[in-house]
């Protein structure tokens, strides 16, 4: 029954490896740095909303 209001999401990269390492997301009005990790409730909800077509994650700068 998880319910989160995700207003934005954007990948971030590790500047050393240039690999995506996390997602900066605004969830319920809070800016959060979410790991790419299944089982993390914020990542799972981002993934669920992306799969449902209701959220798009911006590419990293």
């Amino acid at each position: 029954m998880e319910k989160m209001n995700i207003s934005s999401a954007k990948y971030t990269k590790d500047v050393i490896s240039d690999e995506v390492c996390s997602i900066i997301a605004v969830i319920d009005g809070l800016t959060l740095s979410v790991p790419i990790a299944e089982g993390n409730r914020h990542y799972d909800e981002i993934k669920r909303q992306v799969d449902a077509g209701t959220l798009t994650i911006e590419e990293a700068d």
Partner: protein, 365 residues
């Protein structure tokens, strides 16, 4: 004649020895996020005050509730001094079919294997707690098996005086709990629900595949009046058919159990160090925050406001323009900070939190 050994036939062995309570923070005395939050009902299902206890809500609920952890009101016959208080501040007398409002603790599979659920040796579940309200009401305790979509519910009565509730649920030989760190069991206290969840017959005698209408049939609505209050404490889940006295742990033990799921770093005074870091370049800093307790899973990093942090390098300082989670081992987390040009590459420094700010790590279920 003096006894020299314990007569094992006199020892109750159907329940658990040692750590009996599978729930965490059953007296609501740990509240790292906040002690009190108002206006709950319209917002997200999440963790507001007491650690590990989530308010789960859905539908177009117009009721609002104030949640207060660590309330110094507890039954004299109990061994605790604090409780959780819920107070309805806006009533909802027109309940939509899909509405629900639940106090729930989710338990990871690692902590549930002793129930042997899904095997021929499955054990009973006993939930106990003290509760009081402002008058008579009926609510539901539901055990919901997330791994297999099975559940069972039982009602309990509330009066204006403290009373102890003891509910024993049967064993379930169908559907094992995953032996992992994911949410396997919800211990849910249904306080308000619409006909989608109350329209059937309460499934109270045996575990069954969940039918929504049978999950909370027969409950009162906590949101029926702004007079409604609910106090609850000493919540315990244990193996077997006996509700034993609430298990008391020391404060550090209780805090550490909660920190597997949530940690907050804030100063005792006006400002405090969070971690050391070094300059990779004049604008990029890397630091490693070693954690007091290993988290359940790689955590989400949050913070109050960037302006609450100061990054010091040598004798200069800068406000971060970003604080980013670069990855976690569970025992530590690598944090990347950007600032305006400050210091030189290779210089060491530290991150300080001030202004009452905080940094959080969330690994909740």
């Amino acid at each position: 004649m003096a006894l020299t050994k314990v007569d094992t036939s006199m020892v109750e062995s159907s329940g658990a020895f040692g750590r009996r309570n599978i729930l965490i923070n059953g007296d609501f005395g740990i509240y790292q996020r906040a002690q009190q939050i108002t206006g709950i009902g319209a917002n997200a299902s999440t963790y507001y005050t007491a650690d590990r206890w989530k308010m789960d809500m859905g539908g177009s609920n117009s009721g609002r509730v104030t949640m207060t952890a660590g309330t110094e009101d507890a039954p004299t016959e109990s061994n605790v001094t604090t409780s959780l208080k819920l107070a309805c501040t806006t009533a909802d007398t027109s309940i939509g079919a899909g509405e629900y409002f639940i106090l729930v603790q989710q338990i990871e599979g690692f902590n549930l294997q002793q129930f042997k659920k899904g095997t021929s040796g499955a054990k009973q579940f006993t939930v106990s707690f003290f509760v009081k309200g402002n008058g008579s009401a009926t609510y539901v305790v539901e055990l919901y098996d997330n791994d297999n979509g099975r559940q069972i519910s039982k009602t309990f009565a509330v009066t204006s005086s403290w009373s102890k509730v003891e509910l024993t649920f049967p064993a379930d030989t169908t559907g094992a709990f995953g032996n992992d760190a994911n949410a396997s069991l919800n211990v849910a206290i249904w306080l308000h629900a619409g006909s989608d969840y109350t329209g059937g017959t309460l499934n109270s005698s045996a575990w069954a595949a969940q039918t929504p209408a049978n999950r909370a049939a027969g409950i009162s609505s906590f949101m029926s009046s702004t007079s409604n209050e609910l106090y609850i404490t000493a919540v315990q889940l244990e193996v077997g058919d006996t509700a034993t006295e609430f298990e008391i742990l020391s404060y550090p033990e209780r805090l550490a159990l909660c920190q597997r799921y949530f940690q907050i770093f804030k100063g005792f005074g006006t400002s405090s160090a969070v971690m050391n870091h070094h300059n990779r370049t004049t604008t990029q800093r890397y630091g490693c925050l070693n954690l007091p307790v290993s988290t359940r899973i790689s955590p989400t990093l949050g913070y109050s406001s960037l302006s609450d942090f100061i990054s010091f390098v040598a004798s200069t300082s800068a406000t971060p323009t970003a604080i980013v989670n670069q990855g976690s081992t569970g025992h530590s987390i690598e944090i990347y900070i950007t600032t305006a040009a400050n210091g030189t590459a290779g210089q060491a420094g530290w991150l300080r939190v001030a202004n009452g700010g905080y940094l959080t790590l969330d690994a909740e279920l």
